[in-house]
């Protein structure tokens, strides 16, 4: 109508419109092309990484080094290149860090959504948001300065560079990821159920536990999965405070080495080709785990939109 008003005759109006549509079309196909390019690029690089890793890890299989690499001893000067201690180290560290961070994260979210006073929600979430913006290396650095001496002081038999220190530091690093994911999901659910469950006479705590928790299960899972994969993928904290001894830990006070820091350490030092092979194997394992994690996430997200919520306005 606007165009009709501006144009002197219907014919010109039509041409203007057509030109407009052509313009929109062009813009749309431009955007489509851009997105397609981005998709191809990201898929391509993932595939390329997988390709490189597999290519470099191939000699392990063809030269029959697999058994050597999947063994329990890392003594490169004696020709022993086992990475299983590092796999155990990665797993133990990630699991313990999650063991601390996940309950803590759920607690914080619960506090922000009904268990705690309303006025503290803002500052708390502000703090968590701020935590995401701190570079990981700062966590490591602060931990070296404060936590390591603390652990050493409390347990004189330990150097302070230990599984425990790394787990605590790492749990702080992944905490914001967990909190923000769960918080986002709770907020979405909250908007839908708050009035109705308040009208039934539920207290905020009851609403959280009995109404929101079951509805937010996807967010709870996603936070667990993503938090775990961040813990598993972290390099710098493990490298700085876990002590890096290639051994299977006997206690929380033992020093451990993760697959990620193993890669960093080997790359940073002059090493034999077999040592290099071990880092490709490590990379492959980490890559495999993160793909598994992502697939799990995808399955969670593709579940039909929460069925149990009924219809809401």
């Amino acid at each position: 109508m606007l165009i009709q008003g501006q144009a002197s005759s219907p014919r010109t109006a039509e041409t203007v419109l057509q030109a407009h549509w052509r313009h929109l079309d062009r813009r749309q196909s431009g955007i489509k092309g851009l997105l397609l390019g981005a998709t191809i690029l990201s898929c391509g690089s993932v595939l390329a990484i997988l390709g490189f890793l597999s290519y470099f890890a191939l000699p392990i299989f063809s030269e029959g080094h697999l058994a050597e690499i999947l063994s329990w001893e890392w003594r490169p000067f004696q020709g022993k290149f086992g990475i299983l201690p590092m796999a155990v180290g990665s797993l133990s560290l990630a699991v313990t860090a999650m063991g601390v961070a996940y309950p803590l994260g759920l607690g914080i979210c619960g506090f922000a959504h009904g268990l705690g006073p309303r006025c503290l929600k803002g500052p708390l979430m502000g703090l968590i948001n701020f935590m995401t913006s701190i570079p990981t290396v700062i966590y490591g650095f602060v931990s070296v300065i404060f936590l390591v001496p603390l652990v050493r002081g409390a347990f004189p038999e330990s150097t302070g560079y230990s599984w425990l220190t790394a787990a605590l530091t790492l749990s702080l690093m992944i905490l914001p990821t967990i909190v923000l994911l769960v918080h986002a999901q709770l907020q979405q659910v909250d908007a839908r159920v708050r009035l109705a469950s308040a009208a039934l006479g539920f207290s905020p705590a009851q609403t959280l536990l009995w109404v929101m928790r079951p509805l937010a299960f996807r967010g709870l899972w996603a936070a667990a999965v993503l938090g775990f994969s961040r813990a598993l993928g972290d390099t710098i904290i493990a490298l700085m405070v876990a002590g890096n001894a290639p051994q299977v830990p006997n206690s929380l006070l033992d020093s451990i080495r993760t697959l990620t820091s193993h890669i960093a350490l080997v790359v940073a030092t002059d090493s034999t080709s077999q040592a290099y092979q071990s880092i490709f194997a490590s990379g492959l394992i980490l890559f495999g785990v993160s793909i598994a994690v992502n697939l799990t996430l995808r399955r969670l997200q593709s579940r039909a939109a929460l069925p149990a919520t009924g219809r809401h306005d």
């Binding site: 009208a199 039934l200 207290s203 109404v211 919520t309 009924g310 219809r311």
Partner: protein
């Protein structure tokens, strides 16, 4: 139905110079009203005239919104005793279960049909586990839903039709032994037949409760109301008896007022 009047009307809700505002903007201005037990009052008015806000004032649900402010006196007769609900007469959960509310669209709890009733009964009323099943059945009977769902109590509640969901919400309310029922356009999301079923249910309940229902439909008001309150810009501008509602000339005036 018929134009019968209960013999003795027992007042249960007294609203005096009620003001409600959000974030400094007043929505209800100096509102006065009175409601009785065994009496079905219908609230009519344009969208935005404050009908929902008024209902939410009666169970203090406006307080769930940021920066709401309520002034005036709002007295409810609960358990045979007059209470000024904004002067901390009873804990909020207790007030809200006694003054039950049904929303425009059904709001289900997660879980099965039975869960929807059992959860509030357990959490809010604290009914022991062994008595829950019988109360669930009683409430579903009350809401004329038992025959339709008795064979699938453990099915997810969202598998019910819209009308059934809304009656489930009513059943959930009744299970909490309320005294006052607030219904905010309970049939707005339903088709005509489902709406008639809900209306039938309301008429069967009205003897025992104080019912205040917002309606979006004049014909529905004529079928249900013992009295109609017309809202405009946050005040009651007119009060119509059942007879008034049936008269054709008021009808015309009302149509113009509301739509």
């Amino acid at each position: 139905m018929g134009p019968k009047k209960p013999v003795d009307l027992e007042p249960t809700v007294l609203v005096k110079s009620l003001h409600v505002g959000f974030a400094g903007r007043e929505v209800l201005h100096n509102l006065n009203a009175k409601f009785n037990r065994g009496w079905l009052a219908v609230v009519l008015g344009r969208s935005g005239s404050g009908k929902t806000t008024f209902l939410r004032a009666l169970n203090r649900l406006n307080e769930c919104f940021p920066r709401s402010a309520t002034r005036g006196s709002l007295k409810l007769k609960l358990q045979g005793e007059w209470r000024d609900i904004y002067r901390n007469a009873m804990p909020l959960p207790e007030l809200r279960r006694r003054v039950g509310m049904v929303f425009q669209t059904p709001h289900l709890l997660p879980g099965s049909i039975a869960d929807n009733l059992a959860l509030p009964v357990k959490l809010v009323l604290g009914v022991p586990r062994r008595n829950i099943a019988s109360r669930v059945e009683w409430a579903l009977e009350e809401a004329h839903l038992w025959d339709e769902v008795k064979d699938r109590l453990n099915a997810p509640a969202h598998t019910l039709s819209g009308g059934q969901q809304q009656r489930l919400c009513l059943a959930r309310l009744l299970a909490l032994e309320p005294e006052i029922l607030l219904l905010d356009e309970p049939t707005a999301s339903l088709d005509f037949r489902a709406a008639l079923k809900v209306e039938e249910l309301l008429l069967s309940l009205k003897e025992r409760y104080t019912i205040i229902a917002v309606s979006h439909s004049l014909s529905q008001a004529r079928r249900l109301a013992d009295e109609a309150l017309i809202f405009r810009d946050g005040s009651v501008v007119q009060r119509l008896s059942r007879e008034d509602l049936q008269a054709p000339d008021t009808l015309q005036a009302l149509l113009e007022e509301i739509f």
